[in-house]
């Protein structure tokens, strides 16, 4: 619309159905104030009503902009623009509307075409998805123009955007903010959920791996128990055969043969010990080790061992001493297992004590227990190794013990056996000065000793 200048008066928002009535009122009032006759007032109001209804119906929200239009010196009119961000109108329909031949399937089919007829100027611009903008102008009769011009300044007050709208605007803005915050929260929640799912997955994997490890461990124990059993039988046979040789029942052996048979015997004995250790360890591991408690005299037990140990001590020139009081109460112990414990500790002490050293076995009552100690003047144990000393396969790796034979199972089994008796084992050691292993075993109760 060329040659027309407009002075904007204000806007009325269209968001609710009630706004249609509000727009009609405002426009009617404005038209009256501008000096339109009552018929024209009704025409303008009706036209705006049609436009406003279109906004509400097709776009849900939009605005009616009111302005005063001027063209040249003598023309002054009411300029109304209805705009929305709705779905828009496609080109073919738009052309039909402009030609005046369009018939809407809804309503009475007169909305836009009727509006065009009611007004002096009509312009429509619309793109699909970009909303619609309809501009209409009604000119005042030239006789009224001058008077209207004088009233112009007062018109603006009629259309100021009112409190209602700004409150509504504020609410909408807050609402939008809230929706945005909600959206963010939702996003965070989703992220958390995702993280949770991942954690659950890895948890599941860990559980599976754990179960697999346990299974493997069980398989290993089983394998160990089985093979150890299978190893022991042939060893027993070999050991028996060697006995035949050494007993002389197969005739006298030459010195050379005797040396070899002795070597065989020693190695076979080592192997049997190793297999026994493994068997015990696997029994302890699986919890199938059973103890048979009886009232046991430590003095008797140690003196029985003495002969074998003394032999070994003499070979290395080690002094082996016993300091067990005569009135020591009997112990509640599995005789064979306790013997095993003492033998383990004593043979360790002899093994790690250099020639000319000293090993001492002593015992003393300690409450309901008896404390038994094996003290040597051996190489001692590095402080770092002390903590792991009683672990499985953990032979102390200090330089001094390197080269010594051992499975690393001895102390592990020893500790397990002591604990099965209800006692405790501990070690004190100083590198180069010697070690003291001491353990406790409960005293036998009255009923047992009777």
């Amino acid at each position: 619309m060329e040659g027309i200048t407009s002075t904007r008066l204000g806007e009325v928002y269209v968001r609710r159905e009630a706004d249609i009535v509000k727009v009609r009122e405002r426009v009617r009032q404005l038209a009256r104030e501008m000096g339109f006759d009552s018929t024209t007032q009704i025409k303008i109001t009706t036209a705006v009503s049609e436009l406003t209804r279109n906004i509400y119906e097709y776009a849900k929200s939009g605005a009616i902009m009111l302005a005063v239009a001027e063209r040249g010196a003598n023309s002054i009119g009411l300029h109304i623009t209805a705009r929305d961000d709705g779905p828009g109108i496609d080109e073919a329909r738009l052309r039909a509307i402009i030609r005046g031949s369009y018939r809407s399937p809804s309503g009475m089919g007169v909305g836009l075409t009727g509006t065009r007829r009611l007004m002096d100027e009509f312009d429509i611009a619309s793109q699909p998805d970009e909303g619609t903008r309809v501009t209409i102008i009604k000119w005042l009769p030239p006789a009224e123009a001058a008077a209207a011009r004088e009233r112009l300044s007062g018109l603006r007050e009629l259309v100021t955007t009112d409190e209602d709208d700004s409150a509504y605007e504020e609410l909408s803005r807050q609402n939008r903010d809230l929706v945005a915050v909600l959206g963010e929260l939702e996003e965070k929640r989703e992220q958390l959920e995702q993280l949770n799912r991942k954690l659950e997955e890895s948890n599941h994997e860990l559980n599976e791996a754990n179960a697999k490890l346990r299974e493997l461990s069980e398989m290993k124990e089983e394998f160990l128990a089985l093979t150890t059993h299978d190893l022991r039988s042939p060893l027993t046979v070999i050991s028996g055969v060697i006995n035949f040789f050494t007993s002389g029942r197969l005739g006298d052996l030459t010195v050379e043969q005797k040396n070899m048979v002795t070597m065989m015997e020693r190695n076979t004995q080592n192997l049997i010990e190793l297999v026994n250790d493994l068997l015990d360890a696997s029994k302890l591991e699986s919890g199938t080790m059973r103890l048979e408690f009886s009232s046991t005299e430590l003095r008797v037990l140690v003196s029985e061992l003495h002969e074998g140990m003394e032999h070994m001590a003499q070979e290395k020139g080690i002094t082996l001493e016993e300091k067990i009081p005569e009135d020591l109460p009997p112990l509640r112990a599995d005789r064979a297992k306790l013997r095993r414990v003492v033998v383990n500790l004593l043979s360790n002490a002899l093994k790690f004590t250099p020639n000319g050293g000293r090993v001492e076995v002593s015992a003393e009552p300690s409450g309901d227990m008896v404390r038994i100690s094996v003290k040597d003047t051996g190489v001692g144990i590095q402080p770092d190794d002390l903590a792991r000393l009683f672990d499985k396969f953990e032979q102390a790796r200090s330089r001094a013990t390197r080269g010594e034979k051992g499975t690393g199972l001895g102390l592990y089994i020893t500790r397990q056996l002591v604990e099965l008796h209800g006692g405790e084992i501990e070690v004190q050691s100083e590198v180069g000065r010697g070690s003291t292993f001491s353990f406790t075993i409960p005293v036998a109760d009255k009923a047992m000793s009777d």
């Binding site: 159905e17 009704i42 009727g114 009611l118």
Partner: protein
Amino acid sequence: MDGLQRIPILKVGRVLIVPIQVDMDDQTVMHLQERILSELERTGARGVLIDISLLEMVDSFIGRVLSDIAAMARIMDARTVVVGMQPAVAITLVELGLELRGVDTVLNVDEGIKLLRCEFDFNEEDEGEFSWGELSAFAEQINRS
């Protein structure tokens, strides 16, 4: 929110009189349509007289609803007359290209009652407590208000 504006529906004899005195929002218009129909059913009225003399604007929506009311009332065996349309509204309706299809329009309430009376050929005796004179007096009252 906006409450519904109440448009009174008055039953005088066998005619429902609906004086519309305010600019109605769409919801009120739709609600009015429903109420007229349910009143027709409830009272068995034979005529509906809608007074729009105070209505300053009839747009395509209100026009369509008026047409709809007339069509629906006819199915319910009642005749609808719209009375008192302002000349400016009539001009606008014509320019807008809106025909109030199926709606009889007359100048004022008196004419409307006369029309309804002719239509049904009401007999004073049949009406019982009702008299056309009463209705005419009532109509005048409305017109004055």
